[in-house]
């Protein structure tokens, strides 16, 4: 997976978390995984299709999700399953949306699909050529994990080569 695809997501996650939580963040761990991804807490998954294809997962434990929601809302919020899921989805929306915006400005075109919860106890297997990058953002309210598995769209690449682009 190319760094040029990953960097906008790192920048976006850092910016969205820093603004939403009014804090600085640090990348606590970073690894490449070819094994199936097992969620660590509540995981929201967004698929992208187009010049770049794949999926991004934002994953955090329920207690962290409640604290994140409270910070973003500016008030303490009662814990509920819905709040926890909504927080994961909204974080995914914002992080991925901002990253996609940056990639689009570089000339990539694609469609972002609405987030879905990844609720299976089983992991999601990356395909043979889309190993996943897993990173952990450490924040004052807990850890937020981001799992990225993206690749260039082969057919579009081939079309571009054939067209002499």
């Amino acid at each position: 997976m190319k760094m040029e695809l990953i960097q906008p997501f790192i920048n976006s996650a850092d910016a969205v978390l820093a603004q939403g939580l009014q804090c600085t963040t640090a990348i606590g761990s970073l690894s490449m995984e070819e094994e199936a991804y097992r969620r660590k807490g509540v995981a929201a998954m967004v698929w992208v299709t187009g010049d770049i294809e794949g999926r991004i997962i934002i994953d955090l434990d329920p207690e962290t999700a409640v604290r994140v929601a409270g910070k973003m809302a500016g008030a303490d919020l009662p814990e509920s399953e819905l709040l926890v899921k909504e927080t994961a989805c909204e974080l995914a929306n914002q992080i991925i949306g901002n990253a996609i915006t940056a990639l689009n400005d570089q000339g990539f075109h694609f469609r972002v699909h609405p987030p879905v919860m990844h609720e299976s106890a089983e992991g999601i297997k990356s395909s043979e050529d889309t190993e996943a990058l897993v990173m952990c953002f450490e924040t004052p309210v807990g850890s937020v994990f981001m799992n990225i598995a993206l690749r260039y769209n082969r057919r579009r690449n081939a079309d571009a080569v054939a067209a002499g682009r």
């Binding site: 809302a73 008030a75 909504e86 929306n93 949306g97 901002n98 996609i100």
Partner: protein
């Protein structure tokens, strides 16, 4: 949350009525809190574009805050359909996907403005004042929040 000088409707001094459209309940609640801090009231909510159209017809809000990426019908298509039926509709797109094509498509299809998520209250406040134009009036400091 920070309080802003209330923005009222010029014609009758009543609070500005908002329709908030986003598939995330969490995002809708956050936006609702923001518009309340601007002195506005919630006319309705919708979680997708199709429901937004029916809610617009039912509530006739002063401003619609519309997400883009939603199930069933996306926000840009919903905005277009609302504006076709109600040319006076004031729709502000609110989305994390803020690349130029999206913004241009939204504006070409009838949206009045675009705000990128995460939404900063002070940015949304200024956009709302701009979109309301002469139809909105900012209360004096003494009357703020009234």
């Amino acid at each position: 949350m920070e309080q802003f000088a209330s923005v009222k409707r010029s014609k009758d001094g009543q609070p500005v009525r908002y329709l908030i459209v986003d598939d995330s309940v969490f995002a809708r609640k956050n936006l609702a809190r923001m518009v309340e801090s601007f002195g506005g009231t919630l006319a309705g909510e919708a979680g997708d574009g199709l429901t937004a159209i029916t809610e617009y017809d039912r509530t006739h809000p002063d401003i619609v805050l519309m997400d883009i990426t939603m199930p069933q019908m996306e926000g840009i298509e919903a905005a277009e359909r609302i504006v076709q039926a109600h040319p006076e509709a004031r729709i502000v797109m609110v989305s994390s996907v803020g690349y130029q094509e999206n913004i241009v498509a939204a504006l070409q299809r009838g949206a009045r403005h675009f705000v990128q998520k995460p939404v900063k209250p002070e940015v949304l406040y200024e956009v709302i004042k701009y979109v309301l134009g002469d139809d909105g009036a900012v209360a004096s400091a003494a009357g703020a929040g009234v």
